[in-house]
């Protein structure tokens, strides 16, 4: 059951990414290019996604627990540390170079080009080495 819910969530999420334009790196870079020929349309993706989630979460949190688990497992970290900021800086550089963040990168695998395979393999390599470096 739990496995199925993750599958369903992945399907809805990915449809949103593809329809919204987030899987088009040129469009993403056009959105980030605020000093050039700025394409602000992707701001609407984040805007509607945040507002929808904000309202939806409030409704979900009215129940005592989620459907398939014993309780909500929300992130517990509160403080803003160097690790958070350095991570965000590195991610921002990679996103600015490629126009790809993790979700759209995974969805873009269906484009079937060598470039996206190389990017995703490198991304997983990054996922893999961080816990090895920081014990």
């Amino acid at each position: 059951m739990k496995v199925l819910t993750y599958f369903l969530v992945g399907c809805v999420f990915s449809a949103g990414l593809v329809v919204s334009g987030m899987t088009q790196p040129l469009k993403v870079i056009g959105f980030l290019d605020i000093f050039g020929s700025w394409d602000p349309s992707l701001a609407f993706v984040m805007g509607t996604a945040v507002i929808t989630t904000l309202v939806g979460y409030r409704i979900v949190f009215l129940s005592a627990k989620p459907l398939c688990e014993e309780g909500f497992k929300l992130p517990t970290l509160q403080h803003i540390d160097m690790r958070l900021i350095i991570g965000a800086v590195l991610f921002g550089i990679g996103w600015g170079i490629s126009g790809l963040c993790p979700g759209p990168a995974l969805a873009s695998l269906v484009a079937g080009s060598i470039g996206i395979y190389v990017f995703v393999i490198a991304m997983f390599l990054g996922f893999f080495i961080v816990p090895k470096l920081i014990k």
Binding site: T5, V9, S14, V50, W95, I97, G126, F128, I134
Partner: protein
């Protein structure tokens, strides 16, 4: 109204809906870097769920792509070494910072988390500067 804005809003709505569903079913924040990195982590956790999430992403992208193949063009033609470096930066950065555009940018901000707001402002600002610097260099070369 410009169709790019309509599509962006429909897409954002679906992304929000998926985040709500994961919270409703499993009580978790939808963070792609977190769920995907679980596949290569050594912690004993449900890899089946992460795998099925990724399979859902792939299957759905393959289907929705049929509407307009230009929606999923793949990576930019910037050379494999640069794509590899960018991939490493995205992988390392999102793991260090405990989140990406979905976990921090959508779910975290929707939870009004200060950490997520700081992370999102940081990676947006750095990405904007990165694009700006690349444009200066490519303009100088052209």
């Amino acid at each position: 109204m410009n169709s790019a804005y309509v599509l962006a809003s429909i897409g954002g709505l679906l992304i929000g809906l998926s985040a709500i569903l994961l919270m409703y079913f499993n009580g978790k924040v939808l963070g792609v870097s977190g769920i995907a990195s679980n596949l290569v982590s050594s912690t004993p956790s449900s890899k089946m769920c992460s795998a099925s999430f990724v399979i859902g992403i792939l299957l759905s992208a393959a289907i929705v792509k049929q509407i307009n193949p230009a929606w999923v063009p793949g990576a930019l033609d910037i050379g494999l070494p640069l794509l590899f470096i960018a991939g490493i930066f995205v992988g390392v950065g999102t793991r260090l910072g405990n989140g990406c555009t979905s976990g921090h940018g959508v779910c975290g901000i929707a939870r009004l988390s200060k950490r997520s707001l700081s992370a999102t402002m940081t990676f947006m600002l750095v990405a904007i500067c990165t694009v700006y610097i690349i444009n200066i260099f490519s303009g100088a070369l052209a």
